[in-house]
């Protein structure tokens, strides 16, 4: 996999150098220039030219970029779609759009209008733009390798139904989405049939549904991102071989709200992430053959919820700190392992001083079963009576699966080198 990733990098690098080499002419567009509209600028420009767009307001839409150009804004010129039209559609390879402020592009639920649409091309670079009040922000369809970097995309979504995604990718291979700030859309980033792509160093916050959403996408990686205050942090569904590392999931609250939702996925690797103050840290539904290592679960309602059809999930050297409930497992069959984690609730001892508790830890409590039966009983969380119930269940398990054990719980928190951001 590593060589494949390298190859994609090289391609991007090559394309970038190629674009620089081709930069011959410059077409200036501004209110006082001979060329007054962006469309006209594009028409006059040769392949490889730079169209410099001066500051000002351009009430233009449906701008088609059909040759390899660089559209560069000076002091963030404003392109206003007046809520009816798409601003840019890129149909040629090697197009760069940077430094533009695009606002009020069209809202249409049938046509899925976007501020910037990339159609069946590769080598695109969409960099450092500000997209305000778009329906979809950046829409990639049938695209090859390209880059979406450092954009700020802020929508005004209130409900899922009437909002598009900040960055939407559909049948895309090898895109690199990084350092973007995504807020107020349906999903921060939505990926469907996307492969060999990297999502990193983005901050996705306050989106109605998910901060990041994978559907039917394989062989991707996301790392060093922050997901907070979204309906749910990240949802990975019907996908395979996704690597998830060094991300930060915070404060994703709600009844169907998770830091990370894994649904029908296999062969993932989840490491060095932090899940802080989420209703559910990780929710597993039909998730199998996944390794969870060195993740930090702190102050979540439920750190990990496992529902039916989850097999071979192996939790190793994670820290479970002050969660209301560490683990809920629905279903009696369990082929998942939880050995060698740190549980702040563990109150065993370590007489032989090997750093491992001498008595196994039982992370599943009776009370979590009661809550699943009668959700309102959460109001009795941590009451003395509930503690008594949990204790008696611990002494002689009757309702909780007795094979869910950490046989060698850590006595001290697990330590690891942190990722680039946290």
């Amino acid at each position: 996999m590593k060589t494949r990733l390298m190859r994609i990098y090289i391609v991007i690098l090559f394309l970038g150098i190629g674009a620089l080499g081709l930069r011959a002419g410059t077409v200036n567009v501004c209110a006082d220039c001979p060329v007054k509209t962006i469309k006209e600028g594009i028409r006059q420009a040769q392949a490889g030219d730079v169209v410099l767009i001066g500051s000002g307001l351009y009430a233009e839409g449906n701008i088609v970029v059909d040759k390899p150009l660089t559209l560069r804004g000076v002091n963030y010129p404003v392109i206003d779609g007046q809520l009816t039209e798409e601003a840019f559609t890129i149909t040629a390879d090697s197009v760069t759009i940077e430094g533009l402020k695009i606002q009020n592009s069209g809202h249409n639920q049938l046509k899925d209008l976007a501020a910037i649409r990339v159609q069946r091309t590769k080598g695109y670079i969409i960099r450092s733009n500000i997209l305000l009040n778009s329906y979809f922000g950046i829409y990639l369809e049938y695209a090859g390798a390209g880059e979406v970097y450092g954009n700020t995309i802020i929508g005004q979504a209130v409900t899922e139904a009437n909002a598009g995604n900040a960055i939407h990718a559909w049948y895309v291979q090898g895109v690199n989405i990084s350092h973007n700030f995504l807020k107020g859309h349906r999903d921060g980033i939505y990926l469907e049939f996307v492969t060999h792509s990297f999502i990193h160093d983005n901050h996705s916050t306050g989106n109605v549904r998910y901060g990041l959403h994978y559907m039917f996408s394989n062989d991707d990686a996301y790392y060093c991102n922050t997901f907070d205050h979204n309906g749910a942090g990240v949802a990975v569904m019907f996908s395979k071989r996704i690597v998830m590392t060094d991300n930060y999931f915070e404060h994703n609250w709600g009844r169907a709200s998770y830091g990370l939702l894994l649904k029908e996925i296999t062969d993932a690797d989840i490491a060095r992430n932090a899940f802080v103050s989420n209703t559910v840290g990780i929710m597993l539904e039909g998730a199998s053959r996944i390794r969870y290592q060195n993740n930090q679960f702190k102050s979540n309602g439920w750190a990990v919820q496992v529902t039916g059809g989850c097999e071979d999930n192996n939790f190793i050297a994670n820290n479970f700190l002050s969660n209301a409930l560490d683990l809920v497992i629905n279903g009696r069959l369990n082929s998942n392992t939880f050995d060698g984690n740190y549980w702040s609730e563990y109150n065993g001892y370590d007489l032989d001083r090997d750093g491992r508790g001498d008595v196994p830890h039982r992370p599943v409590k009776l009370f979590s079963y009661i809550i699943s039966q009668s959700p309102e009983s959460i109001i009795l969380l941590r009451s003395f009576f509930v503690d008594l119930l949990n204790f008696s269940e611990k002494v002689s398990p009757a309702l909780t699966p007795d094979n869910v054990l950490d046989n060698m719980p850590l006595m001290e928190e697990a330590q690891w080198a942190v990722g680039s951001r946290r």
């Binding site: 404060h251 103050s277 209703t279 102050s299 309602g301 009661i370 309102e376 009983s377 009451s383 503690d387």
Partner: protein, 260 residues
Amino acid sequence: MLKIMKYTLSDLLRSRWGLIYLGFFLLLTLSLLWLSGDVSKVVISLMNVILILCPLIAVMFGVMYFYNSREFTELLLAQPIRRTDIFWGQYLGLALSLSLSLLLGIGLPFLLYGLLASSEVLNFFVLVSTGVFLSFIFSGLAFYIALRNDNRIRGFGLAILVWLFFAVIYDGVFLLSLMLLKEYPLEHYSIVAAMFNPIDLSRILILLKLDISALMGYTGAVFRKFLGTGLGSTLSFGVLVLWVLVPAWSIRRLALRKDF
């Protein structure tokens, strides 16, 4: 009233029991902080102790103090002082001495560990203020019980029963009712039911600081509104104040009617 309170307080602060109570909290908090670096874990452990122990000590100590100071109360009753002032003064003195022990017992170690300057100061504040509330509520209940019952054995028995009821039995019945009625919408019911138990209320106030993410997991509209906005804290706080006022007012009513 303030004079009586002052004397009751100075008497109690020097009593053996007051010192033991203070020492217990000092030792507990210090050892918890020393053994576990995780402050939120310490707060949770302290929460359990405060929710159970503060009511128990307040109600038992209150009944004991009332019976033991009975002759002295009679001496005061013969002085030109309002009856209400005597009993409210003693009640306030008792509740304040318990609160002070709690505040110092938990506050000093926290100060020592420099945690009051950290972000944990809010947790500390909520913890201590619920402890103070519980001390006031249950010493008020203790005075009420003792005023009603001249028989000491009966008084102590009732005091234990009141504690047991609020600390354990109530929650048991509460949980049972939730399980039995799970087919019905229970949000309003469970919030109202929690209001009728000061220990549950205090627990919810602390949970709103510690476990809000779990509480938000159940998001029927009512819970969400109650827990997610300031409404929950404000309402819980308001009802706790009521829980202080009602026994205090009943003490006055009883005191004005009682023969000594």
